[in-house]
Protein backbone atom coordinates (compact mmCIF):
# COMPACT_ATOMS: atom_id res chain seq x y z
CA UNK A 1 0.00 0.00 0.00
CA UNK A 2 2.84 2.30 0.98
CA UNK A 3 4.64 1.48 -2.30
CA UNK A 4 1.50 2.24 -4.34
CA UNK A 5 1.15 5.59 -2.61
CA UNK A 6 4.81 6.41 -3.18
CA UNK A 7 4.52 5.56 -6.87
CA UNK A 8 1.38 7.68 -7.15
CA UNK A 9 3.12 10.62 -5.50
CA UNK A 10 6.07 10.18 -7.83
CA UNK A 11 3.74 10.23 -10.86
CA UNK A 12 1.97 13.37 -9.63
CA UNK A 13 5.28 15.14 -9.02
CA UNK A 14 6.54 14.10 -12.46
CA UNK A 15 3.30 15.29 -14.09
CA UNK A 16 3.61 18.65 -12.34
CA UNK A 17 7.20 19.00 -13.46
CA UNK A 18 6.24 18.22 -17.05
CA UNK A 19 3.36 20.71 -16.88
CA UNK A 20 5.66 23.40 -15.51
CA UNK A 21 8.28 22.70 -18.17
CA UNK A 22 5.62 22.83 -20.86
CA UNK A 23 4.36 26.15 -19.50
CA UNK A 24 7.87 27.64 -19.60
CA UNK A 25 8.36 26.32 -23.13
CA UNK A 26 5.08 27.83 -24.33
CA UNK A 27 5.43 31.15 -22.49
CA UNK A 28 7.95 32.86 -24.80
CA UNK A 29 5.90 31.84 -27.84
CA UNK A 30 2.74 33.13 -26.22
CA UNK A 31 4.43 36.42 -25.35
CA UNK A 32 5.76 36.76 -28.89
CA UNK A 33 2.31 36.03 -30.28
CA UNK A 34 0.75 38.57 -27.92
CA UNK A 35 3.25 41.20 -29.05
CA UNK A 36 2.70 40.41 -32.70
CA UNK A 37 -1.04 40.63 -32.33
CA UNK A 38 -1.26 43.68 -30.10
CA UNK A 39 -3.19 46.68 -31.29
CA UNK A 40 -0.12 48.90 -31.05
CA UNK A 41 3.63 48.56 -30.71
CA UNK A 42 6.16 46.63 -32.80
CA UNK A 43 4.74 44.12 -35.29
CA UNK A 44 6.86 41.05 -34.67
CA UNK A 45 7.49 39.37 -36.96
CA UNK A 46 7.20 42.15 -39.52
CA UNK A 47 4.24 41.62 -41.87
CA UNK A 48 4.51 41.94 -45.65
CA UNK A 49 2.01 44.45 -47.07
CA UNK A 50 -0.99 42.72 -48.65
CA UNK A 51 -1.15 42.61 -52.42
CA UNK A 52 -3.75 45.14 -53.53
CA UNK A 53 -4.17 47.78 -56.19
CA UNK A 54 -5.00 51.35 -55.16
CA UNK A 55 -5.57 54.56 -57.08
CA UNK A 56 -3.22 57.50 -56.63
CA UNK A 57 -4.55 61.09 -56.87
CA UNK A 58 -2.76 61.39 -60.22
CA UNK A 59 -5.10 58.69 -61.52
CA UNK A 60 -2.61 55.84 -61.85
CA UNK A 61 -3.15 52.42 -60.29
CA UNK A 62 -0.39 51.35 -57.94
CA UNK A 63 0.40 48.17 -56.09
CA UNK A 64 0.58 48.84 -52.36
CA UNK A 65 3.80 46.87 -51.89
CA UNK A 66 5.46 48.63 -54.83
CA UNK A 67 4.41 52.02 -53.44
CA UNK A 68 6.00 51.18 -50.08
CA UNK A 69 9.15 49.36 -51.19
CA UNK A 70 12.39 51.30 -50.90
CA UNK A 71 10.96 53.85 -48.48
CA UNK A 72 10.00 54.09 -44.83
CA UNK A 73 6.32 54.97 -44.76
CA UNK A 74 3.86 56.12 -42.13
CA UNK A 75 0.33 55.14 -43.23
CA UNK A 76 -2.86 56.58 -41.76
CA UNK A 77 -6.46 55.61 -42.48
CA UNK A 78 -8.93 58.41 -43.22
CA UNK A 79 -11.79 59.55 -45.45
CA UNK A 80 -12.57 63.01 -46.69
CA UNK A 81 -16.11 63.09 -45.28
CA UNK A 82 -14.75 62.46 -41.79
CA UNK A 83 -15.07 65.55 -39.63
CA UNK A 84 -14.01 64.06 -36.29
CA UNK A 85 -10.63 62.35 -36.15
CA UNK A 86 -9.48 62.90 -39.75
CA UNK A 87 -8.92 66.69 -39.53
CA UNK A 88 -6.76 65.99 -36.49
CA UNK A 89 -4.93 63.17 -38.30
CA UNK A 90 -4.37 65.50 -41.26
CA UNK A 91 -2.99 68.17 -38.94
CA UNK A 92 -0.64 65.66 -37.31
CA UNK A 93 0.71 64.50 -40.69
CA UNK A 94 1.10 68.16 -41.72
CA UNK A 95 3.15 68.70 -38.57
CA UNK A 96 5.20 65.56 -39.32
CA UNK A 97 5.74 66.76 -42.90
CA UNK A 98 7.14 70.02 -41.57
CA UNK A 99 9.51 68.13 -39.27
CA UNK A 100 10.62 66.00 -42.23
CA UNK A 101 11.35 69.05 -44.39
CA UNK A 102 15.10 68.37 -44.52
CA UNK A 103 14.97 64.62 -43.98
CA UNK A 104 15.77 61.80 -46.40
CA UNK A 105 13.34 61.91 -49.33
CA UNK A 106 12.70 58.20 -48.83
CA UNK A 107 10.64 58.88 -45.70
CA UNK A 108 7.05 59.26 -46.82
CA UNK A 109 3.55 59.82 -45.45
CA UNK A 110 0.55 58.05 -46.94
CA UNK A 111 -3.13 58.66 -46.20
CA UNK A 112 -5.35 55.79 -47.35
CA UNK A 113 -9.10 56.33 -47.62
CA UNK A 114 -11.40 53.70 -46.17
CA UNK A 115 -14.42 55.11 -48.01
CA UNK A 116 -14.15 54.42 -51.74
CA UNK A 117 -17.94 54.82 -51.95
CA UNK A 118 -17.78 58.43 -50.76
CA UNK A 119 -14.30 59.47 -51.87
CA UNK A 120 -12.88 60.07 -55.31
CA UNK A 121 -9.50 61.23 -56.53
CA UNK A 122 -10.55 64.87 -56.64
CA UNK A 123 -11.77 64.74 -53.03
CA UNK A 124 -8.44 63.21 -51.99
CA UNK A 125 -6.50 65.90 -53.85
CA UNK A 126 -8.54 68.61 -52.13
CA UNK A 127 -8.10 66.97 -48.74
CA UNK A 128 -4.32 66.82 -49.18
CA UNK A 129 -4.33 70.43 -50.38
CA UNK A 130 -6.20 71.57 -47.28
CA UNK A 131 -3.29 70.39 -45.15
CA UNK A 132 -0.54 71.64 -47.46
CA UNK A 133 0.64 68.17 -48.45
CA UNK A 134 3.66 68.19 -50.75
CA UNK A 135 3.45 65.31 -53.19
CA UNK A 136 7.14 64.44 -52.85
CA UNK A 137 6.53 63.63 -49.18
CA UNK A 138 2.83 63.02 -48.59
CA UNK A 139 0.28 61.31 -50.81
CA UNK A 140 -3.12 59.66 -50.59
CA UNK A 141 -4.43 56.43 -52.04
CA UNK A 142 -7.91 55.10 -52.74
CA UNK A 143 -8.46 51.33 -52.43
CA UNK A 144 -11.07 49.28 -54.25
CA UNK A 145 -14.19 48.70 -52.20
CA UNK A 146 -13.54 44.95 -51.95
CA UNK A 147 -10.12 45.59 -50.40
CA UNK A 148 -11.17 47.92 -47.56
CA UNK A 149 -12.00 45.20 -45.02
CA UNK A 150 -8.82 43.31 -45.89
CA UNK A 151 -6.78 46.45 -45.31
CA UNK A 152 -8.53 47.23 -42.01
CA UNK A 153 -7.94 43.68 -40.82
CA UNK A 154 -4.31 43.59 -41.87
CA UNK A 155 -3.50 46.87 -40.13
CA UNK A 156 -5.80 46.17 -37.16
CA UNK A 157 -7.11 49.62 -37.88
CA UNK A 158 -10.80 48.92 -37.43
CA UNK A 159 -12.71 50.89 -34.80
CA UNK A 160 -16.31 50.84 -33.59
CA UNK A 161 -18.43 53.88 -34.33
CA UNK A 162 -19.11 56.09 -37.30
CA UNK A 163 -15.48 56.67 -38.29
CA UNK A 164 -14.77 52.91 -38.60
CA UNK A 165 -11.01 53.40 -38.31
CA UNK A 166 -8.42 54.12 -35.66
CA UNK A 167 -6.26 57.25 -35.71
CA UNK A 168 -3.00 55.30 -35.50
CA UNK A 169 -0.04 55.51 -37.85
CA UNK A 170 1.19 52.23 -39.31
CA UNK A 171 4.88 52.29 -40.10
CA UNK A 172 6.36 50.18 -42.91
CA UNK A 173 10.06 49.53 -43.48
CA UNK A 174 11.91 49.64 -46.81
CA UNK A 175 10.95 46.02 -47.53
CA UNK A 176 7.27 47.08 -47.48
CA UNK A 177 6.71 45.27 -44.20
CA UNK A 178 4.53 46.58 -41.38
CA UNK A 179 6.91 46.98 -38.44
CA UNK A 180 5.08 49.27 -36.01
CA UNK A 181 1.57 50.34 -35.06
CA UNK A 182 1.55 53.58 -33.08
CA UNK A 183 -1.03 54.59 -30.52
CA UNK A 184 -3.97 56.70 -31.66
CA UNK A 185 -3.01 60.26 -32.60
CA UNK A 186 0.78 59.81 -32.46
CA UNK A 187 2.86 62.81 -31.44
CA UNK A 188 4.37 64.04 -34.75
CA UNK A 189 7.89 64.46 -33.34
CA UNK A 190 7.82 60.89 -32.01
CA UNK A 191 6.42 59.55 -35.27
CA UNK A 192 9.21 61.23 -37.23
CA UNK A 193 11.79 59.89 -34.76
CA UNK A 194 10.36 56.39 -35.15
CA UNK A 195 10.52 56.62 -38.95
CA UNK A 196 14.13 57.78 -38.79
CA UNK A 197 15.09 54.94 -36.45
CA UNK A 198 13.49 52.41 -38.78
CA UNK A 199 15.25 54.00 -41.76
CA UNK A 200 18.59 53.71 -39.94
CA UNK A 201 18.25 49.94 -39.38
Amino acid sequence: MKRVNARHEHQVTRRRLLQAAASFAVLPCALRAARAHGSFGPAEPALAAPAMQLQAPQGSRVDLGARLRGRVTAVQLMFTGCSATCPIQGALFADAQQRLAHADARLQLLSISIDPLGDDLNALRMWLGKFGAESARWNALLPRIQDVDRLLDFLRGRAAGVDRHTAQAFVFDRQARLVYRTEDMPEPAELVGLMQRIAAR
Binding site: S83, I88, G118, V162, M185
Partner: protein, 163 residues
Protein backbone atom coordinates in the same frame (compact mmCIF):
# COMPACT_ATOMS: atom_id res chain seq x y z
CA UNK B 1 -14.39 85.57 -9.62
CA UNK B 2 -12.12 86.35 -12.55
CA UNK B 3 -14.58 84.71 -14.87
CA UNK B 4 -17.46 86.78 -13.56
CA UNK B 5 -15.38 89.95 -13.98
CA UNK B 6 -14.30 88.96 -17.50
CA UNK B 7 -17.84 88.27 -18.46
CA UNK B 8 -19.11 91.46 -16.88
CA UNK B 9 -16.42 93.48 -18.70
CA UNK B 10 -17.15 91.83 -22.04
CA UNK B 11 -20.89 92.22 -21.68
CA UNK B 12 -20.82 95.74 -20.33
CA UNK B 13 -22.19 97.43 -23.47
CA UNK B 14 -24.85 94.75 -23.86
CA UNK B 15 -25.81 95.03 -20.22
CA UNK B 16 -26.11 98.83 -20.48
CA UNK B 17 -28.32 98.49 -23.53
CA UNK B 18 -30.36 95.84 -21.79
CA UNK B 19 -30.75 98.03 -18.73
CA UNK B 20 -32.07 100.85 -20.87
CA UNK B 21 -34.44 98.45 -22.58
CA UNK B 22 -35.53 97.09 -19.23
CA UNK B 23 -36.30 100.55 -17.97
CA UNK B 24 -38.50 101.19 -20.96
CA UNK B 25 -40.30 97.87 -21.32
CA UNK B 26 -39.65 95.86 -18.16
CA UNK B 27 -37.26 93.20 -19.57
CA UNK B 28 -34.73 91.76 -17.09
CA UNK B 29 -31.16 92.92 -17.92
CA UNK B 30 -29.76 89.47 -17.13
CA UNK B 31 -31.57 88.07 -20.18
CA UNK B 32 -29.63 90.25 -22.60
CA UNK B 33 -26.31 89.40 -20.91
CA UNK B 34 -27.17 85.68 -21.21
CA UNK B 35 -27.97 86.09 -24.87
CA UNK B 36 -24.53 87.56 -25.55
CA UNK B 37 -22.91 84.63 -23.77
CA UNK B 38 -25.00 82.16 -25.73
CA UNK B 39 -24.04 83.78 -29.04
CA UNK B 40 -20.37 83.68 -28.10
CA UNK B 41 -20.73 80.06 -26.97
CA UNK B 42 -22.42 79.13 -30.24
CA UNK B 43 -19.60 80.75 -32.23
CA UNK B 44 -17.02 78.80 -30.21
CA UNK B 45 -18.95 75.56 -30.61
CA UNK B 46 -19.37 75.92 -34.37
CA UNK B 47 -15.85 77.14 -35.01
CA UNK B 48 -16.83 80.67 -36.08
CA UNK B 49 -14.64 81.73 -33.15
CA UNK B 50 -11.40 79.72 -32.85
CA UNK B 51 -10.59 77.41 -29.97
CA UNK B 52 -7.06 76.42 -29.02
CA UNK B 53 -6.95 72.64 -28.60
CA UNK B 54 -4.04 70.24 -28.19
CA UNK B 55 -3.97 66.44 -28.19
CA UNK B 56 -2.87 65.32 -24.73
CA UNK B 57 0.90 64.83 -24.67
CA UNK B 58 1.56 66.73 -27.91
CA UNK B 59 3.88 69.70 -28.26
CA UNK B 60 1.89 71.73 -30.79
CA UNK B 61 -1.66 73.03 -30.74
CA UNK B 62 -4.02 71.90 -33.48
CA UNK B 63 -5.19 74.24 -36.21
CA UNK B 64 -8.54 75.73 -35.16
CA UNK B 65 -10.48 73.88 -37.89
CA UNK B 66 -9.35 70.52 -36.45
CA UNK B 67 -10.34 71.41 -32.89
CA UNK B 68 -13.95 72.56 -33.39
CA UNK B 69 -16.52 71.02 -31.03
CA UNK B 70 -18.98 70.65 -33.89
CA UNK B 71 -16.60 68.29 -35.73
CA UNK B 72 -17.51 65.48 -33.34
CA UNK B 73 -20.53 66.57 -31.28
CA UNK B 74 -23.05 67.23 -34.06
CA UNK B 75 -25.63 64.90 -35.61
CA UNK B 76 -24.39 63.21 -38.75
CA UNK B 77 -20.78 64.19 -38.09
CA UNK B 78 -18.15 62.03 -39.65
CA UNK B 79 -20.01 59.08 -41.17
CA UNK B 80 -18.13 56.75 -43.48
CA UNK B 81 -20.19 55.12 -46.22
CA UNK B 82 -20.76 51.52 -45.28
CA UNK B 83 -20.36 48.89 -48.02
CA UNK B 84 -23.54 46.94 -48.84
CA UNK B 85 -24.07 44.08 -46.44
CA UNK B 86 -22.02 45.62 -43.63
CA UNK B 87 -23.65 46.61 -40.36
CA UNK B 88 -24.20 50.36 -40.15
CA UNK B 89 -23.11 51.94 -36.87
CA UNK B 90 -25.96 52.74 -34.49
CA UNK B 91 -24.81 56.23 -33.58
CA UNK B 92 -25.01 59.14 -35.97
CA UNK B 93 -22.36 61.30 -34.37
CA UNK B 94 -18.76 60.52 -33.49
CA UNK B 95 -19.08 61.74 -29.90
CA UNK B 96 -22.10 62.34 -27.63
CA UNK B 97 -24.51 65.10 -28.64
CA UNK B 98 -24.06 67.79 -26.01
CA UNK B 99 -27.61 68.57 -25.00
CA UNK B 100 -28.62 70.06 -21.65
CA UNK B 101 -30.21 66.74 -20.70
CA UNK B 102 -27.01 64.83 -21.48
CA UNK B 103 -24.81 67.25 -19.62
CA UNK B 104 -26.87 67.98 -16.51
CA UNK B 105 -28.85 64.79 -16.09
CA UNK B 106 -27.37 61.89 -14.17
CA UNK B 107 -25.71 59.99 -17.01
CA UNK B 108 -23.21 57.12 -16.86
CA UNK B 109 -20.34 58.03 -19.16
CA UNK B 110 -17.30 56.00 -20.30
CA UNK B 111 -18.10 53.16 -17.93
CA UNK B 112 -18.12 55.41 -14.87
CA UNK B 113 -20.96 55.88 -12.39
CA UNK B 114 -23.81 58.28 -13.23
CA UNK B 115 -22.67 61.88 -12.95
CA UNK B 116 -23.76 65.39 -13.80
CA UNK B 117 -21.80 68.26 -15.27
CA UNK B 118 -22.02 71.73 -13.85
CA UNK B 119 -20.12 74.65 -15.31
CA UNK B 120 -17.00 74.00 -13.21
CA UNK B 121 -16.94 70.29 -14.07
CA UNK B 122 -17.51 71.09 -17.74
CA UNK B 123 -14.60 73.53 -17.82
CA UNK B 124 -12.35 71.06 -16.01
CA UNK B 125 -13.22 68.35 -18.56
CA UNK B 126 -12.42 70.69 -21.46
CA UNK B 127 -9.08 71.69 -19.97
CA UNK B 128 -7.86 68.46 -18.40
CA UNK B 129 -9.96 65.67 -19.92
CA UNK B 130 -11.25 64.56 -16.50
CA UNK B 131 -15.03 64.15 -16.42
CA UNK B 132 -17.31 64.65 -13.36
CA UNK B 133 -16.98 60.95 -12.43
CA UNK B 134 -13.17 61.32 -12.58
CA UNK B 135 -12.95 59.24 -15.73
CA UNK B 136 -10.53 60.46 -18.41
CA UNK B 137 -12.15 61.26 -21.75
CA UNK B 138 -10.78 59.80 -24.98
CA UNK B 139 -7.42 61.06 -26.18
CA UNK B 140 -9.05 61.93 -29.51
CA UNK B 141 -10.68 64.86 -27.77
CA UNK B 142 -8.28 67.78 -27.59
CA UNK B 143 -7.61 69.50 -24.29
CA UNK B 144 -8.55 73.16 -24.59
CA UNK B 145 -6.88 76.30 -23.34
CA UNK B 146 -9.77 78.71 -22.97
CA UNK B 147 -10.68 81.56 -20.65
CA UNK B 148 -13.26 81.23 -17.91
CA UNK B 149 -15.47 83.65 -19.85
CA UNK B 150 -15.34 81.56 -23.04
CA UNK B 151 -15.90 78.34 -21.15
CA UNK B 152 -18.89 79.90 -19.39
CA UNK B 153 -20.23 81.06 -22.75
CA UNK B 154 -19.94 77.53 -24.18
CA UNK B 155 -21.72 76.15 -21.14
CA UNK B 156 -24.49 78.76 -21.52
CA UNK B 157 -24.90 77.87 -25.18
CA UNK B 158 -25.09 74.14 -24.55
CA UNK B 159 -27.39 74.22 -21.54
CA UNK B 160 -29.64 77.16 -22.36
CA UNK B 161 -30.29 76.70 -26.05
CA UNK B 162 -30.00 72.93 -26.59
CA UNK B 163 -32.59 71.11 -24.47
Amino acid sequence: MNRAMDRARRNAPVSTAALLAALSCGTAPAFAAGTADIARGQALFNGAAPLRGTIHGHQSALPAHAARCVNCHAPGSSSANVPPGSAAPANTSFAPLLTAAYLTGPVARRGGPPSRYDEAAFCRALRTGIDPAYVIVSRSMPRYALSDADCGALWQHLTASRP
